[in-house]
Symmetry: D3
Subunit: 249 residues, 6 copies
């Protein structure tokens, strides 16, 4: 099986971090290829960056999807963009965010999410609400660190995450913890033994869900919300995306 891991952020370092985690969790025999957005933001954390990421992600997928059985999108806070990819692509598309929430909901009555920065906080909250899981959110906990700081001092970041996770368990009765940003990937394995409830890596969750869809043969719908649109014509757009649309119509 061949999975395309697509990062809608332009940071190659972040792609590398997430793909490493994806490959660690992937089953024997699953190949994970990586693709990074060609334009947009290095680290999507605002609505404006998320809006531009729509164009960028579809362009990236158009360029790289060929030959893959499923696509994993490394993103928590761009649900509208992920839905567009589900609609347009001929193979299943899973976002790390939705997969992490699905796994957390199987493991808990109530889960907490660690987030990075105020702007992402509200967008994360909206993702939870859209999933119908607002009633099961124990809380959002802000790491108080930028993505950069997070990778520069891993020990400090891990300590902070453990402290927040334990606070979520004790004060807000969380039964599971979800890492709410790609720059925290890798942390789940490192801190698991220090937190009394499961810590979910959304990248790992998404790879497993993508494999599940492929193994069950749950392919592209030819009707409904995610059926491929007919004869889409867009002008002035990214060349790879334009070529994809031309081939598809």
């Amino acid at each position: 099986m061949r999975i395309l891991f697509a990062n809608p952020n332009t940071s190659e370092a972040m792609t590398a971090l997430m793909v490493a985690e994806a490959r660690r969790v992937a089953a024997a025999g699953t190949v994970v290829d990586a693709a990074t957005a060609g334009f947009g933001s290095a680290y999507i954390a605002t609505r404006a960056e998320a809006a531009v990421a729509g164009h960028a992600l579809l362009a990236t997928l158009a360029r790289h999807y060929d030959g893959h059985d499923a696509i994993v999108v490394g993103a928590f806070i761009i649900p509208a963009v992920v839905q567009a990819a589900k609609e347009l692509m001929p193979v299943p598309v899973i976002a790390t965010g939705e997969a992490g929430l699905a796994i957390a909901s199987l493991l808990s009555r109530r889960f907490a999410i660690l987030t990075i920065g105020a702007p992402a906080r509200k967008m994360t909250e909206e993702v939870v609400e859209a999933a119908g899981l607002a009633g099961r959110l124990a809380g959002l906990y802000d790491m108080g660190l930028t993505g950069t700081a997070l990778t520069e001092d891993q020990t400090a970041a891990d300590d902070k995450a453990v402290a927040l996770a334990c606070e979520a368990v004790e004060r807000d009765l969380a039964d599971a913890i979800v890492l709410g940003a790609g720059s925290m990937e890798g942390m789940a394995r490192r801190i698991a033994h220090r937190v009394p409830v499961p810590v979910v890596s959304p990248v790992g969750a998404a790879v497993c869900q993508a494999e599940a869809l492929v193994r069950m043969g749950l392919g592209k719908a030819s009707a409904g919300a995610y059926a491929a649109p007919q004869d889409l014509a867009m002008t002035g757009i990214d060349a790879d995306l334009a070529a994809f649309l031309a081939r598809s119509s």
Copy 2:
């Protein structure tokens, strides 16, 4: 007062239709300028087109917003994109969809929406849910006509809309009707006397809401969800948008 009417679709004809309605409703002394998306889809009706529209709308606003007191975006089904514009722009941004729903909710216990085509139907439904108004939706009624057909035979389109509206009133107890697509603008005035409940033009509603914000002096927040993000850096994006970001940081 000066309002920028921005069409995230690339169709100039659609811009003209909507701007005509905007000007008809605008107060004396309000100037409405028009801008049309420079790339993307002529008529956004799918999630993929909505995703690309994020980039296109921000680029359009970056190019044209200067000198305006408020922005109206002619769009019903791209709420994530509209939120990005609210975040990024230094003046208030109102979408026709959210404004049409706000007016309908003041006029009714339950409202119906006329939509164009299956893909837009589900996206419209999600807009209503996100507004917290799902419990007040009497139903969605599909015109069964493309945007093109709609403008080519206005009489047939009006007759169809009247029939659906009356069905919504009688069968589903709708107290107001909302026109769910920009290509229906102008219709509200034409059919109002044939429908026993108010028929809302979202373009008209948005112009009035934009004027209201300006007259009340409700300007840009410097904190919270729609505060301007600091030092946004995106690469490879539309030149006008890049220039805007450079100026803003």
Copy 3:
């Protein structure tokens, strides 16, 4: 255009305060007339007073509505009464509360409301829930001052409001502030520059919404929830209301 501003409270001073704000926001050419309830409570703050206000408001409107294009009711916490007015009156009726919430929802992901006194707090909360906006309420903040104290020491009241608003922004991530009582009208303009998010005057919002309905020609429904009831006969009621019912049937 001629708008009737109706105060369901019996306090003429409060009417004056609210009407001054209404006139300040009204468009050139809009005349705002004032009417004050002839019986009931000077300042509605409990459910019992709200219950009596139903009779009083309908009587006031029956006496004064003639010759007006729309009615604004100066009330936040009497939604059932406002709905009755929408049903009975032949022109559009807008309450300051519903209008303030509508404007706040266009400006924010989450808004806070400043309230006066414990009894009004729960009633305000219910208004937000009924509007479908409970998920977007950042919180209710009690001014801890009676309406009287509020008008006697404006500086203290403004300082208190600014402090609460800033707390709402910082602690509960509010993106907009709504003034939850008529006795606070005028304050929005005074404190706007001291609060980092927009501060909404419900009176201003309602005047703008009323003008919008008139300009768009969104008149009285002849079917549905707010159609005028046929042949209403009530005995022993206020003479003006009785005369209105006699004329209408």
Copy 4:
């Protein structure tokens, strides 16, 4: 135990019908006294009539409550008014509507309500939503008869109710039926053997709930939403209500 049955409608015939049912269900030793509204509508079926009923009900209670342990209000669609009575009165107040829904929710996963006329339908729906029971409403079924017709041809009314109830059970999977209007009282006993699920009389339910509160000693709160307001002063109101307020402050 002494219960006051208060009819917010002015029809003595309707009072008689409801009180007969109340007495039939009351425990041995419970005395049920009757009071009928002194002004307002003979049969409340619109929002305007419900609004006037606020004043009328409080006046009726002020005049008659003395010497009673609890109050039952014969009303389904005036929840705001009933809450005002709960706040103002020194003894527990139960409405037939809320009691009927409470009993139905203990007997069913999903219940249906028989209603009379279109205006009452939407108000009934709102009562169910406010009770948090919208997810358990199988449907509202309109008797298609006025209250008058209902009492004039009891056989026809019973047949119609049985037909609707059976349709609700078969088509919408209702497990219980609630009679949604006072003019249907007495019917539950007559048709019970013809309907395969329980048929709930709201008057009976309210009497039982009132007795329960008294037997359990669950009296007036001195804090919270239904604590008696202090020093209420209203002018120009019903004389009995004014006297009650004067005595209470």
Copy 5:
């Protein structure tokens, strides 16, 4: 009238405590018989114990229900089990939990629940949500005492309950307090005068609701969710339950 009070816990002492309260509230002429589960847990406080209680309660009812007009189940946190009993038994079944919530919702806009121990807390929360009353829950307050401690030092338990109840009223605006565990029965009468809002005994509430159903003749449905299943065949189960199923098919 004859009511069976069934305790799904195996503790006879707890049965005695609850039945004493049941008899105190029951009307003259109502006989309350007691039955205690023959197997399972002395004090159900976890999901595993609740799961076993399904078998145990149905067995207990099969053995003892004969000759009773209604059944009260002394349980707050086993809603799925109570529903099974409603389905299987030929007479009405009421749980103390659902009855306590129903009474609290008639007395308050918002109620608080006193609970015992962390595991029960989340299960109680789910009961409130399933009842549609999540929006009216002021909070859950943990007594911080085991059931045993509670009965051993009644004075300390009462003091703790009063302190928590007053905190709920002041901080979270609770208008009523519900005792969330059978081992607290008897406390409501003892502390009522020390708490400014009503304190609800779920056992008392359930006895009153059971009497209400019997007096109103609201018997077993022959259709819908709680109709008796046909020809249930289960093997290897409790002998009394097996005998009951054999008789019923």
Copy 6:
């Protein structure tokens, strides 16, 4: 990896059908062992059978879980029982129902479920609501066949399922179909090419989710809702369960 597939029904034939599907989907290297409930119902379809299944499932797991990395429970409509197993067992427990819904929610905006018989219908609906997915349920479609009929004439059953699935897609806009009963397992592969949207096998979904949890190392929580209860003591229960509890405390 070793997964225990536990059937809470007593039918060995049904176990065989489900386990066959589980093994087909399982990854190379995953061993799936089977266990069937020792007492209770052959085919759980009512609340009474579901209640007994609590005891039966825990007993089955106590007897067989040893040596397995995760447990899959073959059940859609016994969510309370599955939660008990999650709490009690030292390894992750996944039910087919929750797993099927999780996969469907990743594949669709709205999904439909094929059910067997009226009693199961309402219980299935409640499972969807508890998962927070009520807003995404396109509808429940009753196969109109008993489990027995279903297995006896597979062609007829498949034709019926295809017809219902296509109706769900066309009429209710379903984007995915979920098989709502274990006796339909195997059908998804057979009918997939005849249905225009993905058809989800809950058994397959659960096996994949269980493998995911094990591969990600998401083990037993030592705190929160699913932490193992301490010192559980139950008397009179199944011998294997009693032995398990004795070992655990």
